[in-house]
Amino acid sequence: MKNSIGQKKTEEVPGMATDIIPFETEMNRGFLQVLVLVLLEKSRYGYSIIKQLEEKGYALEENTLYPLLRRLEKKGLIKGNWELSEDRPRKFYIISEEGRAIRHQLLEIWHGQNEILNHLLEENKNV
């Protein structure tokens, strides 16, 4: 079963009344950005990014990825370049220097947030 951005759906908790999908979509928004910045250390084109992520167990809709690639390119975090490969024009993307710097900061934030969360979850166990 896939959720709104195509990721495998989280296991449903019995008796759960609220739909998890909107919350999951919200959470994935930032995560996917980091994921793409990590993945584009190597030059890749759109379809290959999707396939690569699928292999890692992260299914994702084209409709989510391609607008994100555009936004990242517009902000200068990745560079896009049209190339002719296998007789087909494909747009290849690769991370820029600015993108690397942002990625570094984002990962630091993410690690920091993880630590806070783990710390709080530990505290909860003692309640």
Partner: protein, 315 residues
């Protein structure tokens, strides 16, 4: 090129009309769709493309994904769209009333130009004025949003307790005031039926003399009776319901009657009195009455809007 794909991209392009990167996005999308069709179905055929397009979703959905984050008016300014439009419309409404009463065109350049119109035309002009005001405020807020500056929009800090204001207007009618009103009204009708006018030059009942010409007497007296009659009827209805719609309808009907009064084809309604310009005085009195009713009309509109908003917030 594949016909279905061409149509699909054309449709997406229609929704992307506001985007500067429309052509670039469409080129990218075309490449992505062709790629997926070939990779997943072995070769690019109309059938394969149709299946891929079905997975992509409706053209509008695809276009909107590319426009995420693009705002015409920032969410923080949206509340001001209605606020500023209301203020502008009140101002506009007042000007229209003045131009109706003084039978002249009016201009507040560069924003307003109100042509010389009659009451009937004003009924059509008012919604147009509202749309204009909404558009004008919308345009200004659009530029403010696009400037991306932290502009603090001015708004007076009125601490109005809307709950209290609404409650105060929702009081049910009482029987004694209604009886007094009906008695007063009956007396006015009696005077009109006996003397053919409600406007007198002197208060000497032995020798009554109308202030107006016979035709004007008849029209203006009937208009006054209609105005008061509507007011009393609305008061009576408020025995059964305290809906703000009653007030709104009352004010609207009274404004229409005033509109008719202003446009009556009577050139010189007064019996000649040289020491006073009665026409000017009459216009000022009508303007004051019209303004009071118009304020009440707008109050009803604001309260109805506020009530709808409160209902939405608390539901």
């Amino acid at each position: 090129m594949y016909e279905k794909l061409r149509k699909y991209l054309e449709e997406i392009g229609h929704y992307l009309a506001a985007s500067k990167e429309k052509e670039e996005i469409l080129t990218e999308l075309k490449s992505h769709i062709l790629e997926k069709a070939e990779q997943e179905f072995g070769e690019v055929t109309e059938d394969a493309l149709e299946r891929v397009m079905n997975v992509y979703g409706s053209p509008r959905k695809v276009a909107e994904k590319y426009m995420e984050g693009y705002q015409i008016i920032a969410p923080s300014f949206k509340g001001y769209l209605i606020r500023y439009t209301s203020i502008l419309f009140i101002f506009h409404f007042g000007l229209i009333l003045l131009s109706l009463i003084f039978k002249t065109s009016m201009a507040v350049l560069p924003f307003f130009y109100i042509p010389k119109i009659d009451s009937f035309q004003a009924l059509f002009y008012l919604p147009m004025a509202f749309v204009f005001d909404l558009g004008l405020v919308g345009m200004i807020l659009y530029f403010v949003t696009q400037s991306r500056k932290d502009i603090r929009l001015p708004w007076p800090k009125l601490k109005l307790n809307w709950q209290k204001i609404i409650e105060r207007r929702q009081v049910k009618s009482k029987i004694i005031p209604l009886i007094l009103m009906l008695m007063g009204y009956a007396a006015l009708v009696w005077i009109y039926l006996r003397l053919d006018t409600l406007f007198f030059k002197t208060l000497d009942f032995q020798n009554t003399q109308s202030l107006l010409t016979p035709v004007a007497s008849q029209w203006y007296s009937l208009a006054l009776l209609a105005l008061l009659g509507i007011g009393i009827l609305a008061y009576a209805i408020k025995f059964f319901t305290t809906s703000e719609w009653v007030n709104l309808l009352r004010s609207a009907l009274q404004l229409i009657i005033l509109g008719i009064v202003i446009n009556m084809p009577i050139d010189n309604p007064f019996i000649e009195l040289i020491y006073l310009d009665l026409n000017a005085i009459a216009n000022i009195i009508i303007a004051i009455i019209a303004a009071l009713i118009a304020i009440d009309f707008l109050k009803s509109l604001i309260i109805l809007g506020k009530k709808a908003l409160m209902k939405k917030t608390f539901s």
